[in-house]
Symmetry: C2
Subunit: 478 residues, 2 copies
């Protein structure tokens, strides 16, 4: 890895992002346009995200399964809004085993239709409900403008698919999963998010209502970081998912689906990253700690390494994910490398530390003197645990302060047009699709969501002036 | 679930297998011919297999990554034997985003080619070696005759891909992974296997040599349960994977690949299953224990349930995977259900047990009185741990005895023809492809492998009589 500087984050955010992803070895471009290779460091981050979500899914009664990659073309056509939304984005297999297929196969863009087919077969009675299934897989959407992690032809995600006896239960589940995403984003990734309802024009193709968590990136643009869809009885009617109720009468099920993807890695990069590279939240970082031994010669090395090994063993036993970097390189080159990769905490151990019984801690979130401290080897485990907690809190606070400083309540539409150039507007909105479309046309800002947290009362729509009871977040978005 | 009996395992093994997979809710047929839905119970078993393997991979220095689903058609054509082997089995995407693609995309049948492309880019110097990467994903091979888990169009697996500086190191890695598969199969799945070298006609398309673990199923047919391929420098030359050595000279890398798939679930079913259904090895079972409360009325229920809860908490805290079945069904219906699903150990707790401070244990591997015992609630944790260990050992021993009883050393080719009708022949083989092909033609038995464990000495080829130093396993195979 060369020690070349990254492009400036403030001057060229987009190129800073692209270079960071490559140089931190998170991902690489694949030979097929728009596809990505997730490299081991990036995949290890994704495995930690998977672990954090999977624990929450299982704790709320969900089980994992696997559904096929290929979906018959006719399945997609059964739900009208669904096929209209996805038709332009499909990859189609037309040849199998050397022969042209009678019915072309769609490479799944999402699995609602094939799930609908299976649930119709599996669900017979109210005793079979609810069905709470999650899939970890990849899906394909033929995107034209792609960017590593943020928008790729193939991306990795989880998609949850649940069936319930009543709409009330299904909506409750939809909101439970949205809350799980919020909790994960804020408490594991240190990414503050706004949970809300998508507008009818921005909802999932086939849903009754979609809900999302929205985050503000370092360049003040929005990123939809997870979605949960109340599918009403749309897919149940399209696929005939029915159950016999307690009175022995046939009823349609109510379904929901929810997903979070490798796009979230893009959010982590763009929320926390700085001029030196990636900054990872401690709970998700592949390595929470890197230990760099400092020595000038073999004599010093033989003094330092036993202490390094002792510290490694102590912290490893305490459950921290850590790495000793004993490569044949200068300490400075190692610092550069691990800063680029965003390791939250660096521990330096040199001859002076050995003599004094201390180690030096250097925080990734506070480069320079501010983030440096010396602690005794004896109290290291506690100090490390505390420091990692503090790094998480400080990353979250910084991101929240950034979002708050850049979220405005413009007094009129002229002011609105200005603020959405460089941040969010939290404004009264009449709820009409026409108003939303005109705002988008005129400002390039989209309606991100109607936050669940509303101020109450009423006000005038920022665009048309109509009296309304809801405020929405508007902003330019990825 | 109806309490209909399975087809007889001895009379119709194939239909017994098909029905068992459906009734134990391991998998279901997908709407696309030859594809499968892995249901939550089957996927949970696969997750445990993944965990057992992933731990071993990481302990030997491997990291996970993700490579794209789509491979340019031209990539496959670069390694001649590879494309010849896979060409008849490919699924091809010809349309993307509504347009016909200039270069059709192959849905990966395996990832050697795209790995080759990336490694050529990433590997520069001997310092970058070895590269030890594993992928957990699904691949597609257009099979004509399919069977759930054993042979499906899309299947789930892991594929490891390593690059080394020398052939010696690469071969060492190839054998290390074969040994990991053997260790996993025998010590986690209780499936005895024969590790050996595949013949040149049976090796992986593009490999120098392939190695496999082979197991004998309940119907005495063979199943290849995991493979490890020494790819020589074939893919390194085809994709130009080179490194600068210590003398600053360009050298080709040496690569290997190794995989184990959801096919292994088929092996577990066919090795351990019995007339009542699935029998799962305790280390991989989704539920190691099911607790069935026994009561006739609410009074008994209120006596029994606190003890059930206490036992659940004690065993749960001790780390066992267990389930309390408190459904509104007769105990008999529950027994049937969990026997079909192969849960290794059942604990029954009724009013008499409450009075005596005992519980009843019923082993899945020994139905009836032989597998039943009563233990005190106080010593339950130890008794359960011991019983699960004993179940593992007894499953392994039974499978090994079955294989040994059905592995023969025929004295001549006439006897050979007889024994391979109903088992394995372990016979001297000259090593010539012609002999192997004639044996296959005449007996339908294939050369499974040349076991690593050889008796030594020499003998006459069972088919042509030529003197040779190696014995091979022949048998009919899945």
């Amino acid at each position: 890895m060369s020690e070349q500087k990254l492009p400036s984050r403030t001057e060229d955010f987009s190129e800073w992002y692209n270079q960071l992803v490559l140089r931190a070895e998170l991902a690489d471009y694949a030979p097929v346009r728009g596809c990505m290779i997730v490299r081991p460091y990036g995949w290890s981050l994704w495995e930690n995200i998977q672990g954090a979500l999977d624990r929450r899914f299982k704790a709320t009664g969900h089980v994992n399964a696997a559904f096929p990659l290929f979906i018959p073309k006719s399945f997609l056509e059964r739900e009208k809004a669904h096929v209209e939304g996805f038709a332009p984005e499909l990859a189609v297999v037309t040849i199998g085993g050397g022969e042209t297929l009678e019915e072309p196969l769609i490479v799944r863009p999402t699995s609602e239709t094939i799930i609908g087919h299976a649930y119709a077969k599996w669900i017979k009675s109210y005793r079979d409900l609810p069905v709470l299934i999650n899939l970890w897989n990849s899906v394909v959407r033929w995107e034209l403008r792609t960017k590593l992690f943020l928008r790729t032809l193939e991306f990795y995600w989880q998609e949850g698919h649940c069936a319930h006896a009543t709409h009330e239960e299904s909506l409750e589940e939809t909101m439970r999963m949205l809350e799980i995403y919020r909790d994960f984003a804020e408490n594991d990734a240190a990414v503050p998010v706004i949970a809300g309802r998508k507008s009818q024009s921005e909802k999932f193709a086939g849903a009754l209502n979609s809900y999302s968590i929205e985050a503000m990136m370092g360049d003040r643009k929005a990123l939809q970081a997870g979605t949960s869809h109340d599918l009403g009885d749309h897919f149940a009617r399209a696929f005939d998912i029915r159950y016999l109720d307690r009175n022995n009468e046939q009823q349609f099920c109510w379904t929901n689906s929810w997903g979070l993807s490798t796009r979230f890695i893009g959010a982590i990069i763009m929320v926390h990253g700085d001029e030196q590279g990636l900054v990872l939240p401690p709970k998700l970082a592949p390595h929470q700690i890197v230990i760099v031994p400092i020595y000038k010669n073999d004599g010093e090395r033989s003094e330092v390494m036993p202490v390094v090994e002792k510290v490694r063993a102590t912290l490893g036993d305490a459950g921290f994910r850590l790495k000793v970097d004993d490569r044949d390189m200068t300490p400075g080159a190692k610092y550069y490398d691990w800063e680029m990769r965003g390791v939250p905490l660096r521990i330096e151990i040199g001859p002076k530390d050995v003599a004094k019984g201390t180690v030096a801690l250097a925080r990734r979130d506070k480069p320079g003197k501010e983030g440096k401290s010396f602690v005794s080897q004896e109290s290291l485990t506690g100090a490390v645990a505390e420091t990692l907690q503090d790094i998480h809190a400080s990353l979250f606070d910084r991101a929240l302060a950034h979002r708050e400083a850049n979220t405005h309540d413009p007094k009129n539409y002229d002011e609105f047009k200005q603020v959405v150039e460089n941040g969010f507007a939290f404004s009264w909105w009449c709820g009409r699709a026409e108003c939303e479309a005109e705002i988008k046309e005129e400002t390039k800002a989209t309606n991100r969501c109607v936050p669940l947290n509303q101020p109450g009362g009423e006000g005038q729509c920022i665009h048309c002036g109509q009296t309304t009871k809801e405020k929405a977040i508007f902003g330019k978005a990825y």
